[in-house]
């Protein structure tokens, strides 16, 4: 099926999300839509899928203009979408999720489960998407959940499949498996629109690439005719440095020591399982792993945000296992949390206030129990320029800033204290290439000043770029600690829980699998 979008415009109030966007997807091609967060990719796809209605512009399928009042209409026209946040009901089975909205029934609307199961079996066979129809979705790993989403689209006979940031939750090996599925789908004549901001993936899998920036199409090219750095400058609008420059680490004293750390979740299940590691001053330990394998809990345990079931955390020889978050801040821990909106900022307050959240009650920001607003504004201004926070003034609300500038506010606040240990979780998630470059440089600076740094990231590129040592975590346990030179393959396998000999054998499995 050939898709043509012409002149699609969509505004939200004064914000123009998409500005006269034209895009053509040919039958049987993988077309990548590349752009930063906020470039208008997801809005465009929501328009295409009938979730939003364009202010102007046309959607044409095989030359015929169509209108989608709701997603049901888009599905009937052969469009399938795999959303970034899966649209699966966790407590339903695979079969229930696949048939939802298009249920085969018997008399009185009774569900025909046998037919549903048979249909799923048939499609699984046809496309090689193995999955148990009776498994509960919440019990499945994300890679398999994604397969269920694809299955759902195919079961409705999708000819054009939209994949919105499909690789953000996958291990590198799962990503490879997904690419294999994508290639086999286009062979059958279907087309795929692949939305992403990851340059390597685009070059690996796409036939043609369209780059968007600030709601407009910048250009379309093919993966043969372009390079990573060319795509990056198209995305950002200026040339960017993709490589982090850093000297070899000069590790000093042990700053952070974690021994047998064990954390349980609300249901009493072990999510961090006897984890031990050390970080020295002047080195970066990257904690790599797919999300949900216990790294968030390690981060929170280090910062005193959750209760520890067992184990010890020492900072410069001092036991801080049960210390309050405030005591830890005073002891020199800086924390860049994973979810900056929820845990890092009070978005309804100004930049100046957010910059002193940790020290609002002490001199010079407060005197005799009253705040010293002049000093707050003054130091705020200073840090805005030090940390390159771009906004009109220090009195601007944080909620109006871009993700990159919000992250800079957090980094500025956290690094303004004496830093002995920096804990940064997903420090560049959702940031544009320019901000990523900036945050990375700052982190390396902190290291070079002699602090210990723990980076928690699920982005393999970031782990490899920043980590002096890389600890790979899987299901709450550290699989191995390796140097960045071991390469992507090995770390990717460790992230999937494959170690040692197993790693070697299933590595060949991946290659023959393609």
């Amino acid at each position: 099926m050939k898709l043509e979008l012409s002149g699609i415009t969509k505004t939200f109030g004064s914000l123009v999300a998409d500005d006269h966007v034209d895009l053509t997807v040919e039958p049987g091609e993988i077309h990548a839509l590349l752009g930063e967060n906020g470039a208008g990719k997801t809005t465009l796809m929501n328009v295409l899928f009938g979730l939003m209605h364009p202010d102007s512009g046309d959607i044409a399928l095989d030359g015929e203009v169509v209108h989608f009042p709701d997603p049901g209409a888009a599905v009937r026209h052969g469009i399938g979408m795999v959303h970034q946040h899966f649209m699966l009901v966790p407590v339903f089975t695979v079969a229930e999720n696949v048939v939802l909205g298009f249920e085969p029934t018997r008399h009185f609307g009774l569900l025909d489960r046998r037919r549903a199961r048979a249909d799923i079996h048939r499609i699984s066979q046809e496309f090689g998407l193995e999955v148990d129809p009776d498994a509960l979705v919440e019990d499945l790993p994300v890679g398999v959940q994604q397969r269920v989403e694809i299955l759902k689209a195919l079961s409705r006979d999708a000819q054009l499949l939209i994949l919105d940031e499909p690789t953000s939750v996958l291990t590198p090996n799962e990503t490879e498996a997904l690419f294999a599925i994508m290639r086999s789908l286009v062979v059958s004549g279907r087309s795929i629109l692949f939305i992403t901001h990851k340059l390597k993936e685009v070059l690996a899998v796409a036939d043609r690439i369209t780059v968007m920036r600030a709601g407009a199409v910048i250009g379309t090219t093919t993966s043969q005719a372009t390079t990573e750095s060319e795509l990056a400058s198209m995305m950002v609008g200026r040339s960017v440095e993709l490589v982090v420059h850093k000297e070899p680490a000069r590790p000093g004293e042990v700053v952070l020591a974690v021994e047998d750390l064990t954390v349980e979740d609300a249901r009493g299940l072990t999510v961090v399982d006897h984890v031990s590691f050390e970080v020295r001053g002047g080195e970066i330990l990257a904690l790599a792993g797919v999300q949900g394998n216990g790294q968030t809990e390690i981060e929170e345990a280090l910062c005193g945000l959750i209760e520890v079931a067992a184990g010890r955390i020492t900072l410069l020889g001092r036991d801080i296992t049960r210390a309050t978050p405030k005591a830890r801040l005073r002891a020199g821990i800086a924390h860049v949390p994973e979810d900056r909106i929820r845990d890092g900022l009070v978005t309804s307050m100004t930049i100046a206030d957010n910059l002193i959240l940790d020290v609002f009650d002490v001199a010079p920001h407060a005197r005799l129990g009253a705040r010293n607003l002049r000093e707050v504004a003054c130091s705020g201004k200073e840090r805005m320029s030090d940390f390159d926070i771009r906004a009109g003034s220090v009195d601007v609300l944080v909620s109006t800033l871009s993700g990159g500038n919000q992250q800079k506010v957090i980094v500025a606040r956290e690094l303004s204290r004496q830093t002995t240990l920096l804990v940064a979780a997903q420090p560049t998630r959702g940031l544009d290439v320019g901000s990523i470059e900036y945050v990375h440089r700052r982190i390396v600076e902190v290291r070079d000043r002699g602090a210990a740094v723990v980076i928690i990231s699920s982005e393999l590129d970031e782990v490899l770029a920043l980590g002096d040592r890389i600890a790979v975590i899987y299901r709450g346990a550290i699989m191995d600690v390796v140097g960045p030179s071991v390469g992507r393959e090995r770390i990717g396998l460790l992230m999937a829980g494959v170690t040692g000999d197993g790693a070697a054998s299933s590595q060949t499995g991946v290659e023959t699998g393609q």
Binding site: D70, V75, V91, G109, E130, A496
Partner: protein, 430 residues
């Protein structure tokens, strides 16, 4: 595709629908052991030797086949039961398996109750069959209320207004049935009144995304105020024409009403009991086996997912909240035309909230709500029985008992339950 198979991996967390934590299990065990001490010392050794009790299994005038009453010595029975109950408690404390915890605990509680009743009715007579009947009667409105809650909350709307829907249903059903003399018209209008309040809840919370709990509370206050006002201005002066209507009479189901003990209690009842049973079956089947149920549960769990497959989330919610109101309205009608045939101010006495608790105890499932409602009904009939038997417990405390038991059960036994994931959260289509 070998890679895909290898990388699929195993689920990180096994599905555990009912987790009874070790602490909770031990807590239940300790409770049984303590209960057995009470049984041994008070109900057993505290009773003079030779005291007997009689449990009547067939009420006088009952149509059921006759079963002879049970005579047994209180002291010996209680001692034996205390020993068994203590053993069950110890079993809960030492064992590591989770399965069967509730069964063992329930067994212990039944033994405790049996010995308690034997003690309370020593040298006296206890109408066991009558207690079961009273249990069902007081459970009926709560069953309707909890089904109403299931309807609404499974689709993602919290219905705190059950209490108000009860009151309006009771009031309207009574006044219409009295004035027209037509019971069925009264029932229909009571249901309609509940449905209208459901519609109001739906409109405010879905159209304007108002906080559902607050809207529910406001509706309750409104219903209470309105019925109080109308009672004073209409029902009191026109008591004979507007507030002394007919009531539904029992319909005996041939043969089934002859079953000993439960026959007359379940199968010689008025229309509300049968409606509740039909509703239970229809709702259970509907929720878990039909397209209708699958879609409405999807809306309550993950509305965005439902929307992306072409289900209109708000339509489903409107429909469910209104039907939920209708069901609660029928439950309300049971207070008047299904019972005394007379409306009195605030006669629902917070039972709408008990119904909400019953639904939570029942884990958002119709039959679970039924069991919880029966538990409350039992506590109620126990209270009535004990006050007749002159048990040395303050009657005011006895009246509190059903509510206390509800609190204890909901907080102590149920533990963490998982409501529908989007229960109570407003949904805004883009």
């Amino acid at each position: 595709m070998t890679a895909v198979a290898i990388l699929g991996g195993k689920p990180a967390v096994a599905s555990e629908a009912r987790i009874v934590s070790a602490g909770r299990r031990r807590g239940m065990g300790i409770f049984l052991v303590l209960a057995s001490v009470l049984m041994l010392l008070t109900f057993g050794l505290g009773v003079s030797a030779g005291a007997e009790t009689t449990f009547r299994l067939t009420s006088p005038f009952s149509t059921a086949w006759y079963l002879a009453p049970l005579h047994f010595p209180v002291r010996e029975t209680s001692v034996v039961m205390a020993v068994v109950c203590a053993a069950l408690g110890l079993l809960l404390i030492v064992r590591r398996r989770t399965r069967g915890t509730f069964v063992i605990f329930s067994l212990g509680v039944v033994l405790f109750l049996w010995s308690f009743l034997a003690w309370a009715a020593r040298n006296n007579l206890l109408d066991l069959a009558g207690m079961i009947g009273a249990t069902l009667i007081s459970a009926i409105p709560i069953i309707f209320g909890s089904m109403s809650g299931v309807m609404c909350e499974r689709s993602g709307v919290i219905n705190v207004a059950i209490e108000g829907q009860f009151l309006m249903g009771a009031f309207i059903a009574e006044i219409i049935a009295s004035a027209s003399g037509d019971l069925w018209l009264g029932l229909a209008c009571g249901a309609l009144a509940g449905g209208l309040l459901g519609g109001l809840l739906a409109f405010l919370s879905l159209r304007y995304s108002a906080d559902q709990i607050i809207v529910g509370i406001v509706i309750n206050a409104f219903a209470l105020g309105l019925t109080n006002y109308l009672t004073d201005t209409l029902l009191v002066p026109y008591q004979n024409t507007l507030n002394s209507g007919p009531t539904f009479s029992p319909i005996a189901i041939p043969l089934l009403d002859k079953i000993p003990i439960i026959g007359p209690d379940v199968f010689d009842q008025n229309i509300f009991v049968y409606l509740a049973i039909v509703l239970l079956v229809v709702l259970t089947t509907g929720l878990f086996r039909t397209r209708w149920g699958l879609r409405l549960r999807a809306v309550g769990e993950h509305p965005e997912a439902a929307e992306t497959v072409g289900i209109h989330v708000l339509t489903v919610r409107y429909r469910n909240v209104i039907w939920g109101g209708v069901i609660a309205g029928i439950g309300g009608a049971a207070f008047t035309i299904g019972s005394t045939g007379e409306f009195s101010s605030d006669m629902t006495a917070g039972l709408g909230f008990v119904a909400l608790a019953a639904m939570i105890f029942g884990r958002w499932r119709p039959y679970g709500g039924l069991l919880a409602a029966l538990l409350f009904g039992f506590a109620n009939s126990l209270q009535a029985t004990l006050s007749v038997l002159n048990v040395p417990i303050n009657p005011n405390i006895l009246v509190m008992a059903p509510y206390l038991i509800t609190i204890a059960v909901v907080s102590g036994l149920v533990g963490r339950v998982r409501p529908p994931a989007n229960d109570g959260k407003p949904y805004r289509p883009q």
